[in-house]
Amino acid sequence: MKRKLALSDEILMQVEKPARYIGNEVNSVMKNKEDVDIRFCMCFPDIYEIGMSHLGIQILYSMFNSWDDVWCERVYSPWVDLDKIMRDKGIALFALESQEPVKNMDFLGITIQYEMCYTNILQILDLSQIPLYAKDRSENDTIVIGGGPCSYNPEPIADFFDLFYIGEGETQYRLLLDTYNENKRNGGTRREFLEKAAQIPGIYVPLFYEEEYKPDGTVKGRKKLYDKAPDTVLKEIVMDVSDTHYPLKPIVPFIQVTQDRLVLEIQRGCIRGCRFCQAGQLYRPVRERDVDVLKKYAVEMLNNTGYDEVSLSSLSSSDYSKLNELLEFLIGYCNSRYINISLPSLRIDAFSLDVMGKVQDVKKSSLTFAPEAGSQRLRDVINKGLTEEVILDGAALAFKGGWTRVKLYFMLGLPTETEEDILGIGDLSNKIAAVFFDTVPKEKRVNGKVQIVTSTSFFIPKPFTPFQWARMCTKEEFIEKAYQTKKGIMSQLNQKSIKYNWHEADVSVLEGILARGDRKLAKVILTAYKRGCLFDSWSECFHNDVWLSCFEDCGIDMDFYTTRERNEDEIFPWDFIDCGVTKEFLLKEWKKAMNGETSPNCKSQCQGCGANRFGGGVCFER
């Protein structure tokens, strides 16, 4: 029997990739809406192919649907072609499973993975016909809840959300939904539900607070509009990641998506403490998943999906203590079944090269190093514990093994960066090329050459990092730095072997503003959306001039958020959120950075960041 689709054949035949909008994929879940108490729509505010590649939604989708009283569905951003048709015809945005309007659901949960999706959040709300501002929503409107890394500084978009769930979703959603049910049964109002929700650990209700500012525009404090709202919100975290929900039957899309393979999450958190990295602080402490559990999951999930490729997911995968055992198991299991293993970026050493040689075509694959900075001095500032020696030794080993392609990742605009550091990028690229010519005799060189691809991105200071105090460069400074990098590379002996790529500067500046923004930015985001900004993370859709005019017309000074020097005692818009790591620790790290001092990783010596208060993980291992 045919499922009734929300869009007519005529519309679906006109749009690019109609499969984005029809649901019905393998392992998607259909329920009878009469049989459930709560309908939850999970959203990734970007196109289907990006959203379907996200592990977090698969975890929560699977967990929610394992509960009999809940039906969880999905929605993604309609691409610009369908967006226009829906606006012209007044079609309400719908969930993929039931094909019913999102506004019929109890909850709309939006995962916020990057700042450049903020206008897409407004598109989702707008097309769903849900009032954009939380304060304008009435009793029967869907409750809009945000989560994901950007919810650690929710203030720029706080006005658009009823709730934020700070931290890992596995722990408090059941309580939140029970609270909702109970409130509904007792005839409670929306406001009463929000009041009760605010008492749940990890839940933040923006409506209950007002941000107050000093005359200079910085945050003075937060005024509570509901006296029982908590002063701070501590992130939620799963301490035993081996004994928690995992999606053993993930949805398998029909069309090719960005991450078109099985994903095994091996650990959460990172021991490294790179000072620019937000994820490295937000997800502390490191918690490893048991290797036997992972082996069992891999087999079961491959059977349930039919995927021909499996990949491992984590930060700094080489630090997973049982990586060797896990990879050996996977290689043994997958090889005889024609299943590929896609390796995460590993620290280059004899072990990883051996594994890479077993699972990929050496001639076709490339090695990746992320030194992030061109000189040892600057690598010490950012606490990236990767030395030139390690890189060159790794490269030599790899060249001997037959690899001829190397990718290098750097950042430009890091705190304390000088011209010397920038020129170091070309130097290091050149030295790697030289290692190739020294290591591989002429007669053994495949095609006679080595290919070094050097890429730079622009450094964007993020909340909850030691660099949250840092000044961010202007667009002009960024472009000048990229130019210097290029010049530095061009002057090298082996410049013909080096290809240089750099990132757009405009979008980095905007990302920097939104990342450390406050509530004043909500009106800029809304204005930009109303003037047509959408899919800002897609270079073909990004209109910097429109954004600039929005800042100007809203009377918001962009430099306040980017180039302004921040004092040590400044109250940040995100200070009321507690990610476990203390502000004192971050400040200590910031000062060490300024002195070029490094900090050891969590496994070698505890730095007292504060994450041990969660009572587990690497903090309590010996």
Partner: protein, 250 residues
Amino acid sequence: MKIRIKFAKYGTLKFIGHLDVMRFFQKAIRRAGIDIKYSEGFSPHQIMSFAAPLGVGMESMGEYLDIEVNSITSVEDMKTALNETMVDGIDVLSVKILPDSSKNAMASVAAAAYTISYKEGNFPIDDIQQKLADFYAKESIVVTKKTKKSTMDMDLKPGIFELKMDKPLNIPSDIDSDGDKQITPVIYILVDASSSGNIKPSMVLDAFCAYCNVELEPYSCQITRLETYTRIIDAQGEEKLVPLEEAGHE
């Protein structure tokens, strides 16, 4: 061992393109635990070939793909295992073992039968039965085919083996979400579908509409492939079209 799988594709699945259907079957075969053969080389792939790609928007009751396997328990087992891993809108209809000498699915295709139904009910063409008969009785049905470089006149008539109005067949694809069966008559057409002379049913429909001086809204018709045929010479020495599945046995 060569295996021929017949399947139906309808409902929401009509929006899934040919390459994605291939990818779907590659995964389904893994889920079903079928002992499929892989090609040699550095990136081995499943040995699988489809008979005739189906355009996006069309439904079908007679799609075919051939695979090679190392072993099977029984064709019945394979059909059950596959159907357990299908989604709504794809049903495996039959699984047959092919003689080793048989041609692959694509090379075997000689003809295909389709129905064309008007989604809103009756075709907005008066006296359609007579008009269709008159149209088919013409000596030639010349249409202009546009290619990238030029336009070309083409006579459809020799490739149309049968054309008539028919009663609705009430195949799964015609049953709507309320469980209502379609009751209005449909156009039935049997055309050449070989690689050299393939005729799209939409070309015939367009020519017929032009003949009737009627312009139909885009996407107002649903085209459903009913069956894909191969040509055999029977015991009496006569050429005959038979469904592709008849080349195989249980």
